[in-house]
């Protein structure tokens, strides 16, 4: 049942221009970023300078892709759930003999599958350099995993925001607000407050950083899985209560 809901969302994205435009725009931007990175490593003594190539690749390619996901995923999530409410197709799901949890997981899986090709694009671009430079595929894979988990977190936050309002635009704006908060929560020193460990832990960028460095840590996996579960649980609670207000 979860797969059926996810498959429909996938079909909806790629039968309309949405999915293709998204892939094309991401590819164009990442292609430009790749050329900029390669620029640093061409010219005199390339073998000496290629030492930092992998780190530059992951930070620039996957960092840019993460910024794109931050912009795009809340919109996709708002469309996925808010669109059903706005277009009047919600009764089809809510009236079916399936639980709200199943619907929510179906929507989440649909977004996860939609985010996946966006995460594979920078990986593919990085891997094209194999044979021409000393590329570390393991590091790129770790970065792609980190990027996908970041995308999943954005999707969970986006779905929660979509349960707050029936307006997809308002839902996307609410998701941006939450995600920006999760992005800058560790920058308390900017406000004159001392830096706190727990706030540092809450910021997604801190955890993505380790993946981009090629390090897959259990604590980072726990962070992403835990926060995704938290926002999905909050979304489930909101949906359950929606029948009462």
């Amino acid at each position: 049942m979860i797969a059926a809901i996810a498959a429909r969302d996938w079909l909806a994205a790629f039968r309309t221009p949405l999915g293709w435009v998204l892939l094309a725009a991401t590819q164009a931007i990442l292609g430009y970023v790749l050329l900029r990175v390669l620029d640093l490593f061409t010219g005199a003594e390339p073998p000496v300078r290629s030492a930092g190539l992998n780190l530059e690749l992951t930070h620039n390619l996957f960092g840019t892709a993460a910024a794109l996901l931050l912009l795009v995923v809340p919109l996709l999530a708002a469309r996925s759930l808010g669109g059903e409410l706005r277009d009047g197709t919600w009764p089809l799901l809510a009236g079916a003999p399936i639980s709200l949890g199943t619907i929510l997981l179906g929507k989440f899986l649909g977004l996860a599958l939609l985010v996946l090709p966006l995460c594979l694009l920078p990986l593919g671009l990085g891997l094209t350099l194999i044979g021409a430079a000393q590329v570390d595929p393991g590091m790129l894979l770790a970065a792609a995993l980190g990027l996908w988990l970041t995308g999943l977190l954005f999707a969970a936050v986006g779905l929660f925001a979509a349960t707050l309002t029936r307006q997809p635009v308002a839902a996307a704006v609410a998701a941006y607000g939450l995600l920006v908060l999760l992005s800058v929560v560790n920058r308390t020193e900017l406000l004159g407050a001392p830096q706190l460990g727990v706030l540092d832990w809450l910021a997604w960028s801190q955890h993505l950083f380790w993946f981009l460095a090629g390090v897959v840590r259990t604590s980072d996996l726990v962070y992403f899985v835990g926060l995704i579960a938290l926002f999905l649980a909050l979304a489930h609670r909101r949906l359950e209560n929606a029948g009462l207000d």
């Binding site: 039968r15 009764p91 089809l92 009236g95 003999p97």
Partner: protein, 316 residues
């Protein structure tokens, strides 16, 4: 006493849908208040009321889309609040706006609905084929839902509500916005549905309910004003080109009583005889050569109630 109690329990067990003291408030405003009714298999019941009477809210609660503030909805013995998934298995619900995904093809869409409805994978193709045939969508099975005409969109919505062969079909304004031919088709489908399911149809058009329902619930401002059978009218108003004396009219076998309308020459109020129907009366009038110009049903109690509830008639 004990016999009556037992009968009530048996009736409750027979009921496919049981609604008890159903109330739903939006803020302080009650959208529906204290609704009580039952629906048995094979019944076609009209839910009648002006716009804003609470029909859609009532149907959304019955379909399990909206939780009631208080009261109970039991479908085929399953309480909607305690075991919603079991209760929903027995319902086919068509909302006012058919829930269609514009980028899907008709057949794809029905397959998706069949999966959501929990039809086993092996039986999906057969169920979809059956729904397509019943709703006259065979020729449109490969068309995109977003490109269908309003009539076809309504049919696709109906097919989605029927694909799992529900025992209780809930239709919210199914003929709204359709042309007369499409309306007749939908009515035909409702009549066909009644052979195996209970059907609850909401409408703000009295004629619509009269055309397809045997029983009617009249709702106004969230309250149930009337719950009773909708019989064919026994009193008719006829206008004749060459009017005879009322006694001559009353002498027809199909007529019980006939009185001339004051102030409307050639118009009579006719009460049909015990076994007679309107067709026999019309044949009698034509055979007598009185020149039948008009024949229309007198207002029924339900009609009076309805027009009073929409504010078009002062309370009697």
């Amino acid at each position: 006493m004990a016999g009556a109690g037992t009968r009530a329990i048996v009736a409750a067990m027979d009921a496919l849908l049981m609604v008890q003291a159903l109330t739903r408030r939006f803020g302080r405003t009650p959208a529906v208040a204290g609704l009580d009714f039952r629906l048995c298999a094979g019944e076609v019941v009209g839910l009648l009321g002006p716009n804003g009477a609470g029909k859609t809210t009532c149907l959304r609660i019955l379909a399990g889309l909206l939780a009631p503030t208080s009261g109970r909805v039991v479908i085929a013995g399953h309480d909607m609040q305690h075991s919603p998934q079991r209760a929903k298995r027995h319902i086919g619900y068509l909302p006012e706006r058919p829930p269609l995904y514009p980028e899907m093809r008709v057949e794809e869409y029905l397959t998706q609905v069949a999966r959501l409805r929990g039809i086993p994978p092996g039986a999906v193709t057969r169920a979809v084929g059956r729904a397509l045939r019943r709703c006259g969508l065979d020729a449109a099975r490969r068309r995109l839902l977003g490109r269908l005409s309003k009539g076809y969109r309504q049919r696709a919505g109906l097919a989605a509500a029927l694909v799992h062969e529900p025992e209780l079909v809930i239709l919210d304004e199914p003929t709204d916005g359709l042309d007369p031919v499409q309306m007749r088709e939908v009515r035909g489908l409702i009549a066909e549905l009644a052979e195996r399911s209970a059907v609850l149809v909401s409408s703000h058009a009295l004629a619509e309910v009269q055309a397809s329902c045997r029983r009617v619930l009249v709702l106004d401002r969230g309250r149930l004003l009337h719950d009773g059978p909708l019989d064919a009218p026994r009193a008719l108003r006829v206008r004749l080109a060459r009017p005879p004396a009322p006694a001559a009219l009353a002498a027809l076998t199909s007529v019980a009583t006939a009185t001339a309308e004051a102030g409307a020459p050639g118009t009579f109020r006719v009460q049909l005889g015990a076994d007679a129907d309107a067709e026999q009366l019309a044949a009698g009038l034509v055979a007598a050569g009185w020149g039948l110009l008009e024949m229309m049903p007198e207002r029924t109690d339900v009609e009076r109630l309805f027009f009073r509830s929409v504010g078009m008639e002062a309370a009697a």
